[in-house]
Amino acid sequence: MNRFSFVLRRPIQLIPVLLGISVITFLLLQMTPGDPVRLMLGPKASQEAIEFVRARYGLDQPIPVQYFYYVLNCLRGDFGQSIAFRGPVSGVIAARIAPTVFLILYGLVISLLLTFALAVTAARQRGRWIDHLIRLVCVAGVGVPSYFVGLLLIMGFCLRLKIFPVSGYGPTFINNLWHLFLPALTIGIGVTPILARNLRATFIQQLDKDYAIACRSRGLPESYIFSRHVFWNSLLPTVNLLGVVVAFLIGGTVVVENVFNIPGLGNLLIRGVLTHDQFVVQAVALLLAVGVVISNFAVDVLTAILDPRVEL
């Protein structure tokens, strides 16, 4: 059987996950006290207007009925109406996907560059002071909260040096590279220690592996062994870790989007949770779950490309 046949299986595995997530979000939001309509119409809205709107969104129906119609509508491609935004959820979400995806990918690119730079340096200079320094920075870096990093970056780069904008999401790709640099850097700084530590450890572990010794016995130079053998073998564990990290990131962008005011999904989701915008939360949660699954899938594909042994 083809090693890559898992590509076909993935969508099937997604179904129970999506069902589970929709049930959990539905129940969670039902359990949360508070009335979304009141928040929608604002503090001075009349009771009459509130009742009317509640009925319009079907919020006066029993919970199982609401869920049933929700699933039914989803199957028809209708993800419901946003209470806060007074319109179809799909439209609300569509406007927010790009910033989040851009931010996450950008952050990943930055963190990968940092990761490789640090890990390769440390592994090649193994045991020297620079290696110890990098290791220490990685250990220390894990615990620095990203909101604190974000604040410091804004202070330094936006207010003092005025190199980067404080916030926002520009209209063009190039513009976004500039606008989202600091948020992406914040993400990068958050993730790099974990990845770099892992990659460095793997490099060093792989350098002592039997196959590396065998290569040495054939007189291959260290740099060749590193670049042709050890490097590629070391990518596997880090790629796997990357999958976990991306899943973590997708949720973690919330904080960064908040600090840097990026109109993304994370922001929307938190707002949705706090304002009980049921269908927005549902849809974003499902979308993010799909994102997690896609990232895991990408990891699987990457693993399969990297490692001929993998049967998925």
């Binding site: 002592d208 039997d210 010794i213 065998a214 016995s217 130079p221 042709r228 053998h229 001929p308 042994r309």
Partner: protein, 559 residues
Amino acid sequence: MSDLVSVENLTIDFTTNFGDVHALRGVSFSLKAGEVLGIVGESGSGKTVACRAILKLIAGNALVKSGRIMFEGSDVLAMKDAELGRLRGGQAAMIFQNPSTHLDPIMTVGRQVGEAMVVHQGISWRQANARAVGLLEDMHIKDASRRAGAYPHELSGGMRQRVMIAAALACEPKLLIADEPTTALDVTVQAQILDLLRGIRRERKLSVILVSHDLGVIAEMCDRVVVMKDGAVLEIGSVDQILRDPAHEYTKRLIASQPSLMKPTTHACPVATEPHLLVKNLCVNFYPGQSLAAWATRKPPQIVRAVDNVSLALRRGGALGIVGESGSGKSTIARAIAGLVQPQQGEIEVDGQSLDRALRQRRPEQVRKLQMVFQDPFMSLNPAFTVARTLAEPLRQQNICPERDIPERIRELMEKVELPRQLLDRRTTQLSGGQRQRVGIARALALEPEILIADEVTSALDVTIQAQVLGLFARLRRELSLTLILISHDLGVVRYLCEHVAVMQHGKLVEYGDTEDVLDRPQQAYTQELIAAIPKLSRRTSSGIQPGDTPLLAAGSKC
């Protein structure tokens, strides 16, 4: 002939977290051009360190205290990187014990064979690939051009070893260092690889250093042999001289411990009429995980027949050896009888009583009757337990004796397996391999079984330790009148302990009968092949040594 390599008074220490370890203590030996030198010794003897040092392949924490290694007149240990690069691969190359870990798993084998040529000789990858295919053909790999594009995991163990040899020979070195090249292989494959090594040595006029723990391999391959123990050289001499007339006590013991040289212990077995254990038409299938896609396309499930319609019978007090190469299903039979694997078909009867195929359904006394001892001494004991706890647990759980008698019972068990009581408070991780295996036996005996199944119990042990453990088995069997099933890949071990033998291949019983009949007059081609593949040692040893006669074995061979 001048010396190609000479190792002079080499002393190497390893600095570890637990203090310095003396890996080599003043080791000296030399190799003449064209010669095959064997280095034999058990684990920890320093044989691997010694031969790796010749290529300066020593770990970062190794410290050369004294001595030097001369390769064609230049001091290897003083070489700079560039010179080392020329020496390694170009002048001398090395092959290793485990070909599956010593090949890069994510690079095609053709590339791995060819890359040294690209790096050292500056030829193009295309040329290197062509030459690699040629080399692989030289290693008798069929369909070499296709195989060159394969990854290591797509090849069998023997094939991988051929690839590793090809990679080592890529730059036509003068010296080949082979570190346990066949230890991880089945015996028939081992024979093929040894054949290959003999061939290329002859064709390429190679000098060879062959490191092995197996005297048989050394005897078949080498001109001279170095015997090492605890980092020191005990004696050096021609193979004939060492085997016939070993000077050192340890060498004598080493030779005497070879299973093929040990005197069988099976001659005085009691004869019973009714079978104690009866296995009828046993079938064990494995279903490798079926994919959803396969399920969706209604593909029939893949079945691996691990055990295919096997029937066995064993008298009370009898001993049956089950032999076969890896994947033959011999361990699966053992586990199925013990209830650890649930067979799809077949009957297991003990004393005429049928046992349920599922362990959970068997009555406690049925469970007790059948106990197993496992292969890997490092895996068979719970590392979180002390020895005392390991032995107390079955006594307590199966209510073998009242709580207050347990300490006494444990002491008795320790005596039975010849372990000092002081070890009782040790963690199992603090024991040596042999000690662990004895604890494993004691644990099985705690339940007072009638049938003992020993699954490759000695294959992970050094040969002298193996001899001791085998001796212990022989004694226990007799004293406790145990019925024994011994699973092994080593025909010598089976001959030593068992009066019956079953030969298995691909899950099927190939040959079954009295040990002497089967091993001395094999009827089946496979059995003949198996026996022929065993490196022969006996013909080169003198009658001066009486196997089974050394003091160490005395305890184990009372009968």
